[in-house]
Amino acid sequence: MASSHDADATGITRRKSLAAIAGAGALGLAGCTQSSDGGDGSDGGDELSGPINIAGSSTVFPLMSAIMEDFAEEHPGVDPDISSTGSGGGFSNFFCTGDTDFNNASRPIQPAEEELCAENGVEYIELIAATDALTVVVNPDADWIDSLTTEELAQIWKSDPAQTWDEVRDEFPNEEINRFGAADTSGTYDYFIEAILGEEGHTSDYQATEQDNSIANGVAGDEYAIGYFGFAYYFQNPDQLKALGIDDGDGPVEPSLETASSGEYTPLSRPLFTYPSIESLAEEHIAEFARYFVEQTTNEDLVAGDVGYVPATEETQEEQMEKLEDAIERAQG
């Protein structure tokens, strides 16, 4: 009671205080409003926003998704997604129909795919992402073998292949060869044919899969097995399998980051690509992502350390950047 008496004395009536509370309440509510274009646009500072759709090679997938992860962290407005569909699947189902902005590939685009892209009016440029050393592996218990020449490799994998190891080299055991390799949708398969087999074609007498994991498990469980896949898997699991040195005429060379970047590991070190569509590069956030991608291709920690590919040289990076800037200018200009 005393307090209300005091209030009266100072001239604050109930009506006045109600009005004051209502006013304060209205102000408070006003502070809790948002405009209809969404309340969380307060990231500020970074105007880049929009989706980036990427599909393609499962070999390039780890590299692209690692770069994307960093880019998404730096630019919260950008909403990137990536699918691992295989190089060919990405080109024919998504990229050349105009549904994705980039397509990753572990081999250059093929004529049939070029045609499809042209039919749908999709223009693109080719960017080199990194270098991969295609690795041939055998069981770690197979102490009778350390290296193969390219001819021997072809003998094992050609369309009419050697059935037992001693057909390949006399001192090898008389045991059947069990082959594990990439499926024919894979860019790795195409590259292996191009580099080793040529006209002779690839055998169909092997376990074909898109999963490096299955190849590794197959080889790890069988002393007389042989398999091949991208370098990353072997790089992350060096104890599980034994990588063979490849003799291209100058003595056997083991696959490693050094031998691949110095160009010693022939003919199995191969460039990996990504293809941005020129129409997409007209959008600023996609152009910015493409620039970021090319910048990161020389990042040793990321490309070699985290993923297990050979980073591009400064020189390659400069070339790629010029090519990209030209394309961006063409798209936006």
């Binding site: 509510l29 409003t33 209809s36 309340g39 998704s65 909403d79 997604d81 898109e210 994991n213």
Partner: protein
């Protein structure tokens, strides 16, 4: 004696060997299947929670602080000396048996990878005994109260999180207008009509709702300023839920009790929401989870206190929480090496990453939840609609009857079509022809709904067919129209069966990967989808990708954590549906 003889006469000479062999064959088959499944789950759990690195001291600590008090609670609730004796026998005897058997196998046959006898005891004896005792305990009054409270706490949080997830893609502003202009007036009118027995008010509710919804859609394009998201959720979800709880209690007890039951959780949730906003947490989700947990819990506690029986059960959540805290303190104090689980809070709230320890499943979880919610609604509506039409409205004879039968056979065949084919259909029809976009959430939901539609239709048809015809004829005889018969007699009777079929079908849909690959769903995304037309990733896709990563940590730990997450969400979803079904069963 006489009966035995007559049996022998009837069947001639019968050898019992065949019967016994058959029995053991069936027993063997079921044991083989269950054990194989069990071993798989045990290894997945060991990987996901890093139990291989759990020291025996750590296991013992939590066994004593968490498991033993829980078992004691269940035994106290069951209040049956026989059960107590059996449980203690199984725990003690199991300890000796597992230790001896395990050591013998390790020493004589082969070392068992990544498992020690303590873990084997945990999975083979402790977990089944705990489950059994939880079942027995929940039948006692104290246990029923405890588990009821626990269920409301856990279920409320889960539903709150799920609703919060759905609001990530559905336009909250549109919902605000629709609720304010359509839903609220219509419900108010209907309630008024019920209370005052005004038939006109009740019939007016539907048109009012419709007008309100149309107005909402129109106004959404015009109005520029809205209350903040937090206020919207407070107004459209928290207040109605609290009001419903308050009314429930006010009806039974007093207005004051009702006001307390509704008001206290509402105030707590509001405060929590604003605090979360200040702390940078997702405020709307916090608000929803708190209010959807708080109000049912308060209603439940008020009802238990009213009934006055089994009050001790209300302590169960406290008992468990105290066990966890005490365990953590002891482990900390003694410096016991604790496992570092892959499945931890950051795994559930972070985006995928190339570093195994930082990898998270959040965008894929949100994608899966959104898709499955849409699939549930779509397939339920389409499936039940189709089956009701086929069972109740189409003639059984004549040319139309033949047509119906052809349709039925085709539906049954469609159920066996491989999911990849549905993926192609989704790609062609929804993504390309209708232009809903490649790999968008709405395309995926439509495709998956089509995929499980045959299963839902067939099971709903079976359920409707199993409703006795006498009931329909009886309803007809009362002068009911066919619609009234279907609505009041057939559907309530068939609902448990319909729900069972839908639950099974949804379980299939959540794990499907092939159709998602076909429609171009992304393998990896770094943000949760924020509209129905954004590209998304789903849990099985992300898990499959991780399984192919070269690093061993991905292939074992991260994948296992993903599998457990998928299983938990699946079990939670099915659990909700089963609760609904049981309710429908009891209702009929």
């Amino acid at each position: 004696m006489a009966t035995e003889n007559s049996n022998a006469d009837g069947f001639g000479e019968v050898s019992r060997v065949r019967g016994i062999a058959f029995e053991y064959l069936s027993f063997g088959a079921s044991v083989f299947g269950l054990v194989a499944l069990g071993v798989l789950l045990v290894y997945v759990a060991i990987d996901a929670f890093d139990l291989a690195n759990a020291s025996p001291a750590w296991l013992l600590t939590y066994f004593l602080t968490l498991v033993v008090p829980f078992l004691a609670f269940c035994l106290y609730s069951a209040d049956d000396p026989e059960v107590t004796r059996r449980a203690l026998g199984a725990l003690g005897g199991g300890l000796v048996a597992v230790a001896v058997l395990f050591t013998a196998i390790e020493a004589l046959v082969t070392p068992i990878p990544r498992l020690n006898w303590q873990l084997a005891y945990l999975f083979v004896v402790a977990a089944p005994v705990t489950a059994y005792l939880a079942y027995v305990g929940s039948r006692g009054r104290v246990g029923a109260v405890g588990f009821g409270l626990l269920g409301r706490l856990v279920g409320g949080v889960a539903i709150g999180l799920a609703v919060g997830t759905l609001f990530l893609v559905f336009d909250a502003l549109l919902w605000f207008l629709a609720y304010t202009l359509g839903v609220l007036p219509a419900v108010g009118l209907y309630a008024f009509g019920r209370a005052r027995d005004e038939a006109r008010a009740r019939t007016a509710a539907a048109p009012v709702a419709l007008v309100g919804l149309v107005a909402a859609v129109v106004l959404r394009g015009v109005v520029a300023t809205y209350p903040s998201d937090l206020i919207i959720y407070l107004w459209t979800v928290a207040v109605p839920v609290a009001a419903a709880g308050a009314f429930l209690v006010a009806d039974r007890r007093s207005r004051t009790a009702g006001a307390v039951v509704g008001g206290v959780p509402l105030a707590l949730a509001t405060a929590g929401g604003f605090l979360a906003a200040g702390a940078g947490l997702p405020a709307p989700t916090v608000l929803l989870a708190l209010v959807l947990t708080g109000v049912p819990t308060a209603v439940y506690v008020s009802r238990v206190v009213d009934a006055g029986e089994g009050l001790a059960g209300l302590g169960l959540p406290l008992l468990l929480a105290a066990g966890v805290v005490a365990g953590a303190l002891i482990v900390e104090a003694l410096g016991v090496p604790a496992p570092d689980p892959w499945l931890d809070p950051s795994y559930l709230t972070e985006a995928p990453s190339r570093t195994p320890t930082e990898a998270g499943l959040y965008p894929a979880i949100v994608g899966s939840v959104i898709i499955i919610a849409m699939v549930a609604v779509l397939s339920f509506a389409l499936g039940v609609g189709t089956s009701v039409f086929l069972e109740e409205y189409t003639p059984e004879s004549g040319p139309l009857g033949t047509l119906t039968r052809i349709l039925q056979v085709n539906i049954a065949n469609l159920a066996a079509v491989p999911s990849v084919v549905y993926g192609l259909l989704g790609l062609g029809l929804f993504a390309n022809l209708l232009g809903l976009g490649i790999g968008t959430a709405v395309t995926a939901a439509l495709t998956l709904s089509l995929l499980i539609l045959p299963i839902t239709i067939i099971s709903a048809q079976e359920a409707i067919r199993s409703v006795p015809d006498d009931l329909r004829r009886g309803s007809d005889a009362m002068g009911a129209t066919r619609w009234q018969t279907t609505k009041n007699v057939v559907l309530p009777e068939a609902m448990p069966g319909i729900l069972t079929g839908t639950i099974l079908a949804l379980g299939r849909a959540i794990g499907e990967t092939a159709p998602l690959i076909m429609i171009g769903a992304a393998t990896t995304v770094f943000r949760a989808p924020d509209s129905l037309f954004s590209r998304f990733s789903a849990m099985p896709m992300q898990i499959y990708t991780w399984a192919g990563f070269p690093q061993a940590d991905f292939r074992y730990g991260v994948v296992a954590a993903g599998v457990i997450t998928l299983l938990i969400i699946l079990v939670g979803m099915n659990g909700t549906a089963i609760l609904l079904r049981n309710r429908a069963e009891r209702g009929s």
